[in-house]
């Protein structure tokens, strides 16, 4: 019984993680400029991967693999946001203006 619950939970988490990764991917394509795209990508980076990793941990049970997954999780929690920050900060310092509103239609869908 217990096993079944854990198993079901793990699949649920995996599916949820998969969903958020997909959402992030769609977001990266659909969003208009770099900053919003980073925003979308960070959904993949944090929520998506976190759910998947936890799901995998539940799946593997009390094994060495679980600790490795935990280590990966911690590592990603540190590096993911930092890399998003670095990307955004560099873009800003590099002179890339965020697109605010749509007053200027010529900038619509500007590619990077």
């Amino acid at each position: 019984m217990m096993e079944m619950i854990v198993d079901g939970l793990s699949w649920l988490l995996l599916a949820g993680g998969g969903f958020f990764v997909l959402v992030g991917g769609v977001g990266v394509i659909r969003m208009p400029d770099l900053y919003t795209r980073i925003h979308a990508a960070s959904v993949t980076e944090t929520l998506g991967t976190m759910l998947i990793l936890i799901g995998l941990m539940l799946h593997s049970g009390w094994e060495l693999a679980t600790f490795k997954l935990l280590a990966i999780l911690v590592f990603l929690l540190f590096t993911g946001p930092v890399s998003s920050y670095a990307l955004g900060n560099t873009a800003l310092l590099g002179g890339l203006k965020p697109e605010l509103g749509s007053q200027d239609p010529s900038k619509e869908g500007r590619d990077l």
Binding site: F78, V82, A86, N89
Partner: protein
């Protein structure tokens, strides 16, 4: 299921390769190349080659991307666009691809256990390694002992690349086109204005080094060995250089010391072989190193792997420092 994931990653590999070549901004191209290598590494993992995957991830996606960046900072990132299409190379490539494609139908399928490669030499290694060398990782056993001579050659290749880069960059152009010393300092200073990056990045460095040591000395039991450990260790130093400024990484790891250590690593490898010779065996015959041949093998592999790791680390660090600390002329 795994095969399906393999198909997807392989397709992505192909996409990344095409994107790499199509990108006209070289900075973008080298980023794509890093992605390409990482995808390639994950694909290697799917194909049961964990050692190769680890090395490709560290070398291809890590070190070589950093080297490309270092070079681009000195050479400029825009590629001139050619309007002319050269048909001759395209035609040659087309013929080549066609010939290769037709030949694939006579090649063994992926994973076919009856393929000739799985029939002849390989089973012997899998059978005999536990008896003769007694370490679990057969890849390491072959790398360091059965085909140790190849690996010696590789160490020499990487050493040659190291002194080659030093030699090529030891020439300075006669007339300096100028760059102010402040600009140079700004260039080598790395990302010091990004405190968050520096703090988090520096948290990663010790972990990376620890992992490199595990890969180095635990490589007999798990995937790993001198090559991947060396690349990881060098990556840690490169990370330090990027975060704190290349002049500091050059100070921490001075060129002279690196060169000596690189030469020491290569010499250590050769010396192990020569000692075996002095003890009456063939070159690289670790069996004679100890009364019990299996123990002899153990020590031999330990020493040569250390030599490999040392040389790879120091050479890669040396090359990084040489690139990153070079003023733009």
């Amino acid at each position: 299921m795994i095969a399906l994931i393999g198909l997807v990653t392989l397709t992505l590999v192909a996409v990344a390769a095409i994107a790499t070549v199509m990108a006209t901004n070289l900075f973008v191209a080298s980023m794509w190349f890093g992605i390409f290598s990482l995808l390639m590494a994950s694909n290697f993992f799917i194909l049961d080659a964990a050692d190769v995957a680890l090395t490709e991830a560290a070398v291809g996606a890590g070190v070589s991307t950093v080297l490309f960046m270092g070079a681009l900072a000195l050479t400029g990132e825009k590629e001139a666009i050619r309007s002319r299409v050269s048909w001759f190379p395209m035609a040659v490539l087309g013929v080549l691809a066609l010939a290769l494609f037709v030949a694939t139908f006579q090649q063994p399928m992926l994973g076919d256990p009856m393929a000739p490669v799985h029939q002849h030499v390989a089973p012997w290694y899998l059978e005999q390694t536990p008896n003769l060398i007694n370490i679990p990782n057969v890849v390491t056993a072959i790398l360091a002992s059965f085909r140790g001579y190849d690996t010696l050659g590789e160490v020499i290749v990487i050493f040659t690349a190291g002194i080659g880069v030093l030699s090529v960059l030891s020439f300075k152009p006669k007339r300096r086109q100028t760059i102010s010393s402040e600009a140079l300092a700004a260039k080598v200073r790395g990302v010091q204005h990004h405190s968050i990056l520096r703090v988090v990045g520096k948290l990663v460095i010790p972990l990376l080094m620890l992992f490199a040591l595990v890969v180095q000395f635990h490589g007999k039991y798990t995937p790993g060995g001198g090559f991947s450990a060396g690349a990881l260790f060098a990556a840690a130093v490169m990370l330090y250089g990027i975060l704190e400024g290349a002049d500091r990484s050059a100070k921490a790891m001075p060129e002279k010391v690196m060169l000596r250590l690189a030469a020491f690593g290569a010499t250590l490898y050769t010396s192990v072989g020569l000692v075996c010779m002095l003890l009456g065996g063939a070159f690289l015959d670790y069996n004679v190193l100890w009364p019990d041949p299996v123990v002899g093998q153990y020590f031999g592999i330990l020493l040569v792997e250390f030599g490999v790791g040392l040389t790879v680390t120091t050479v890669l660090v040396m090359i990084f420092n040489a690139f990153a600390n070079r003023p733009t002329y």
